[in-house]
């Protein structure tokens, strides 16, 4: 659990982070979203003491981090950044082993861990371990960057626009991977982005920042349904709101018995997927099947439209 209490940061006379308080529960994926210059990256960097706060404090699992020497604190916290920041003179394996080496793990343990992580990120160890970062594609570099951040199995992972440099298709895949890995490892993640789509897609909690202030800190549903300020609404895009709300609702509770023609949707899809599919194929209802291919029932267009309305 991370408790941020009345945190402020001034650079000279300029206030970059203004009295921010928020609590991130253990195991959650919190997204800090905001425009450039909103103070989101500074807020993130205060969590691993790359930036020292002017006032206020941060507790991680109840311990004030100002009492821990910065380099020791950082070795316990994963850190992944935009443009991956891999060391160009070190191989993939050596890059991933950076923090384990700093912590003095023995060679066998480091080697096993590198293999485990490459495996986790679907990179063949024999093929990739001895390559240099420049020999990888953008998506592979990004995966190695996250693998490196997770190398010493940190309980907390900080990510600063980790997918910013990726093209849309690879980005979607990387986001999917991150969600799966987080569910598997139970790591607490704080991720900074300027992309509200990414925030809604990934976050359990979303913190919206503008001009040094925390405007709203809530679940994605609440942010979409009840934006705290006009600015949060603008960030969501007023025309997009019903679709964002649908994308947050899984299909399962809305499956009703009955037949429907055409291709079936997977049960893990969202109501937004069902709406899109029904509209595009001109059907009033779409069949739903489970992972094994068994048909569970159908979701109707009417249900999707009803659920797109703002709850009263």
């Amino acid at each position: 659990m991370i408790e941020i209490e009345h945190l402020s940061k001034f650079f000279d006379e300029t206030c970059v982070v203004d009295d921010v308080s928020m609590t991130i529960p253990g195991g959650a994926l919190a997204v800090i979203v905001g425009t450039s210059g909103s103070g989101k990256t500074t807020l993130l960097r205060m969590i691993n003491r790359l930036v020292e706060p002017s006032s206020g404090r941060i507790l991680i699992d109840g311990k004030d981090i100002s009492a821990i020497p910065p380099h020791e604190l950082r070795r316990q916290i994963g850190y992944a950044i935009q443009g991956h920041g891999l060391f160009p003179h070190r191989t993939v394996g050596q890059n991933i082993a950076t923090v384990p080496h700093l912590l003095g793990w023995d060679a066998a343990k480091v080697s096993a861990r590198v293999e485990e992580l490459l495996d986790l990120f679907q990179l063949d160890a024999a093929e990739f371990r001895d390559r240099y970062p420049s020999q990888l594609s953008g998506g592979q570099q990004q995966r190695v960057g996250v693998a490196r951040a997770l190398a010493a199995a940190p309980k907390l992972l900080l990510m600063d626009e980790p997918f910013g440099a990726l093209d849309p298709i690879i980005r979607a895949r990387a986001q999917e991977d991150l969600r799966q890995i987080q569910q598997r490892l139970g790591t607490t993640i704080v991720l900074v982005t300027h992309d509200m789509n990414e925030a809604i897609h990934l976050g359990d909690r979303i913190a919206v920042m503008d001009r040094a202030k925390l405007l709203q800190y809530d679940t994605p549903q609440e942010i979409v349904i009840r934006p705290a300020t006009e600015f949060v609404g603008e960030l969501l895009g007023s025309g997009e709101r019903p679709f964002r709300l649908l994308s947050l609702q899984p299909l399962r509770p809305y499956i009703e018995p009955g037949e429907a023609p055409g291709a079936a949707l997977d049960v893990d899809a969202s109501l937004r997927d069902a709406l899109e599919e029904a509209l595009w194929s001109g059907r009033a209802a779409v069949p739903v099947r489970d992972g094994a291919g068994k048909t569970l029932g159908r979701v109707t267009l009417a249900t999707a439209i009803r659920q797109a309305a703002r709850p009263q």
């Binding site: 691993n48 790359l50 910065p70 380099h71 020791e72 604190l73 950082r74 070795r75 316990q76 850190y79 950044i81 935009q82 443009g83 991956h84 920041g85 891999l86 060391f87 160009p88 003179h89 070190r90 950076t98 923090v99 700093l102 240099y132 970062p133 420049s134 020999q135 960057g145 490196r148 951040a149 900080l158």
Partner: protein
Amino acid sequence: MTDNSTPLSSRHVIDRLGIVIFALAVAGLFCPFVLFRANRIVAGEARYALDALPGWPGYFLLAAVGTGAVLALLRLDSRLRLAVSFAALAILAVGLGWAVDSVTPAGDKISRTAPALGFWLELLAFGLLAADSVVRLGLKPLSRIALLIAVSVAIATILLSGIWSDLSVLREYANRADVFWREAATHIALALGSLVAAALVGLPLGIAIHPTKRLRAVVTGLLSAVQTIPSIALFGLLIAPLAWLAATVPAAAAIGIAGIGAAPAMLALFLYSLMPVVSNTLAGLDAVPPAANVAARGMGMTDAERLLQVQLPLAFPSILAAIRIVLVQNIGLATVAALIGGGGFGVFVFQGVGQTAMDLVLLGAVPTVALAFASAVILDAAVELVSVKGRT
């Protein structure tokens, strides 16, 4: 019909640089091959190849050089061109030895026979051909070093075989063999010593001033000002303060510091070397990707760990490039040290100039050039070797 479809047009057969090589080599055939002087001082008499090498060796030499010139003119495989140049150079080397031998009266130790314009033109022509072929072959760093070793061994073999022992330069050498090797050691000590000192001071200095913009401007400004002082002036300027230091501080005098001699020479070379080392250290550190620096800090490296594990390894090719510049520069500059009694190959150069004895000038100049050339080849290869990693 375009030019491309006529494979026999002159453009496709004739090598452009080959025209220059051909012209030099042919011109060389019409110039004297060696210069004979009855003693060191008198004016020489020119001897053409056919006079100096009576009978078949003379004709063979002319034929070989002519063939080489024609082959240089043609667009051939680079390996073949390299072989042609080496063959021509080897024939010239042996031919020179024989020519000197036959021109020098038997038992004569006073006369001096030196290569003349014809030989130098041929050397230039086929040296050019060799250099051009090596560049075109695009050899890997280690192959270039291997080639350098092979050429050095070949030259050493010629020198040790005695085939050139009557050559004027080597007669000068024979007269001062012990002095030659002492000055060689001094020369190398001056060049390498000042380089090591500059690296030991310049590297930490560059690292220290790197983060501070104003400090960088001041230090690099000062060092580039030093670079603009002409070398002779700097050697001279250092005489007064060092003489004063030696006179007032007995300990300084005890370790060999004096107004003239090796101390001011070493100090001047050191000052000239600082600028390249510092500026390349700064450039190397600047070239470290910002994301790598942030990531290193974010993962919990201390400043020292970041310097040693990330910044210096990434700056290393740039620093090594500075070492190359400094070493080659110092090997050349160390020649001037002889002017203030610092020793080195410059001793022969300045003696030779004073006595208008060109052979003596060559005795100092040729090893200097060879040393600088070899250092450049070796360090260029090293720079390439360390840069290749991770950038393919």
